[in-house]
Symmetry: C3
Subunit: 359 residues, 3 copies
């Protein structure tokens, strides 16, 4: 493992030498540039030789029925403005993280309201997001309902049934939107959990069937050092164990999942590349597209959570690029990367991102 | 209990049916409306049939000598602007949460300074808030000093004596302000605590006597699932136990307390209505006015605390309306609902609130 | 101890009497002033008699390779603007808190990159900060590399060697900047830790030798009630124990350290003065300059960390003034006191500070 990590780091440095033409460090250039740039700093001032290119982010989650991220209380006009900011940054796909969690639901779904103790929602977020996606020419993926209890208590079939009916209702009601282009299987798992893959398989297949084979996406996480489980004493999965468990899971969900986008924040930065390489290998084996879910919040700080440092984001985007990820989706733009975010650090991250990619 | 919860939820849905005229869900309307509203979103776009009316908020605490909310470092001009924003939203009463906590005091009170190890304050917040309340035509309630130790160590009489002298000093010094219209008994309790009701009784009666019978307010909390005590292993009080304990407490404080405003954030959203109904019943029995103290911060998030999600606030305002609360005070406007707040989520909550109530 | 604390508090009150000319409290003045100032509040409205003068802050840390403070994602133009804001407030010295921590480094240092598993940094922060310090006429101190492991594992010589080579490289590469005026020994300790003073001694001496005797600074902390260690059960050091341990440490580092700036946030506000008096006494004994490192973030809140309340900052600045501190450096301006901070409370703190000092 340590060797592999060293290799990734050395790979970066080697690339740097090439890019900078024999000159590894920026000192000469930087000193010169400051002479003339004294009062005219630009986006390249003090940037080191461009070692890391990174890959661009083309998708984001929409975290409105949230688990641990405080709400921004945006109305439709705020969202309209934020979709525009997404587009400017190159995002073309929005994924609603879930259509409900426990008692909270994103729209008045009859199939949920009639049997579950849920709160009647004040806004139809599905209609709103689809309308905005239509307007801005983006693709929208619909996230499933997460009961927050049935699948945790082992009642997998109940969780499946609820989502089967929800899919039927949603497709009938919202399927006419041209932006409705995919489904997101929202239950998040990190390892082989008895029958969880059954949810992915059954729900995913049904969603594809009713919708003329629209794309399905999952976003699991790596059982790594920054998971709550491991921080509480559990052992992290090695790269090899990760590969074995996910080989089995992906085998179980064949035909139901089109895209796999592992969350990238539960392992340390220098570990990420190795896990991504395995993810890509597995995805190729099962004919699945391999994206990375790049977290734009910072897991390393006592405030849980604020926007991530640009340097960290870039490091992860570069690991993803080198590992051959086919696309990047972020969790999530509106809190952590948007110029409209109530966390003002996000707006600065947006600026750094756009400077780097010359957008 | 579950039955009661189901009943509240069903009540909401029944009301919805009536309001929406046989049509429970907004789909048809929403889809139509998006055709024309494509580029002209307004505050009603995507709003579901107006199931929840909620009740308006007419009062707020002022949390300047704070326990767990970081300070905004506002000067008098910032406060002036914020009182204006309160007024715009319909707030007519401000309640200073306390005049001191342990070593920190809100103004240079001679009666505290002479015997207690407190810091001499740089600003006279009492004079400032009264002046602003005068200017903006609002009522001001003065919150008592909380030693942070005497009543916790069982020295109830010491806590009472300090506040008796403080009341005398404060009424003499600040009582001329036309906005000085009440007293807030700031010690917060959740259940029968030996002799705590004695503080309410003695301090409350004295405050009323010296001031020509001005109004007195208390704001206890429910010993529910979101209290630190219960989250640390203690058992939550059932609705029945809550009723029994508070029946006894209110019996002890008769004549000393005019308004009771229970904090609404320590129980789950679907539990709230049942507790509020009991609070109203008890208040009626003892001839006390029953308000709700609606918390505008979010207790469900790892960041403790940022502004609450509008959907949650509305749900609580609706439970309060249905339970017959006579008024709503929030904890508190300036951090969590204000367009001037340093938490920008608060400004968006202010917008959602004003849209909902057509202000 | 309690007597000492009482003495400090009484000292403040006595000073107050003198300053306010026999009149301890502001009541009369405040009430009068509100008559005319009703619509014309100014910065003195409601300010109590000016008991606490406090001392001005003339230096700040730059916390870019951060341990526990989330990043603001500023580019060079943001920093340029922030240096300007510092200058306006009277700051003339910036201290880079560290040039690296574990895998993160502030610039592409060859001496670190060649042997350590570190990430290649996207920006040369050293060149950037020096250029800005040149431009704004400020002094810059360079903070050492903190491996985050060697000195913790007892490998002191490895930590020393890394920094010896780093100093050579840095002085050669950046020493030409006129603003390069000092070195900061960044390892933070609170008490006698075997061999830690050896790091200060060897690294400090080498830095002075290569650079023509530039100033060296350390910023230890007091082993007080707000340290993580003591909050986890360890015993706080009494003032006497603190004096004894630091007497020994300072004896060990003679000739290597020019300025000692203890962090002021780990003890309670009323305890601070006593510790500062001892610090000054020790500094005088060893011919060291004694600064205070005034923390501008709030350690008393559940959100760790947001800007401190102005009242608390002023109390600490006054304790520092009375104890004879020769200068004050803050940790740190850009997050917690700046009008450009993404924490908007910081901008208000900046306003309060400037009002108080008539800047």
């Amino acid at each position: 493992m340590m060797n592999q990590r060293r290799n990734f780091l050395k790979g970066v440095l080697a690339a740097s030498s090439l890019l900078a033409g024999q000159k590894l460090f920026a000192s000469g250039k930087a000193i010169e540039s400051t002479q003339s740039a004294f009062n005219t700093f630009n986006k390249d001032s003090f940037v080191t030789p461009n070692v890391m290119k990174g890959m661009p982010i083309r998708a984001t989650f929409l975290d409105e029925v949230s688990w641990d991220i405080p709400h921004q209380n945006w109305g439709v006009k705020d969202w309209d403005k934020d979709f525009l900011a997404m587009k400017k940054m190159g995002i073309n796909t929005v994924v609603m993280i879930r259509s409900g969690l426990a008692r909270w639901i994103a729209a008045p779904f009859e199939s949920i309201l009639k049997g579950e103790d849920v709160y009647y929602p004040p806004v139809d977020l599905v209609e709103m997001f689809l309308t905005l996606a239509d307007k801005h020419g983006m693709a929208f993926y619909f996230g499933m309902y997460d009961s927050g209890k049935y699948w945790i208590e082992g009642k997998f079939q109940k969780e499946i049934d609820l989502n089967m009916h929800l899919i039927d209702e949603v497709w009938k009601k919202y399927g006419h939107h041209k932006s409705f282009q995919g489904w997101y299987l929202s239950q998040e798992i990190s390892r082989r959990t008895k029958n969880m893959s059954k949810i992915y398989a059954e729900v995913g297949k049904h969603a594809k069937e009713v919708s003329g084979n629209l794309t399905t996406l999952v976003s699991p996480y790596i059982h790594g050092v920054k998971t709550d489980q491991v921080m509480s004493g559990d052992k992290a999965l090695s790269v090899k164990e990760h590969e074995e468990e996910w080989d089995e899971i992906l085998n179980n969900v064949q035909g139901a999942v089109d895209i796999m986008a592992f969350q990238d924040g539960q392992v340390d930065y220098h570990e990420l590349y190795d896990y991504l390489v395995v993810n890509k290998k597995l995805a190729d084996k099962y004919g699945i597209k391999c994206w990375t879910n790049i977290e734009s919040f910072d897991r390393d700080m006592p405030i849980r959570f604020l926007p991530i440092k640009w340097e960290k984001l870039l490091l992860k985007l570069e690991a993803a690029r080198k590992a051959g990820m086919e696309n990047a989706i972020t969790f999530e733009f509106s809190h952590f990367m948007s110029p409209n975010s109530t966390y003002l650090q996000a707006g600065h991250l947006y600026e750094r991102y756009r400077e780097h990619f010359r957008i």
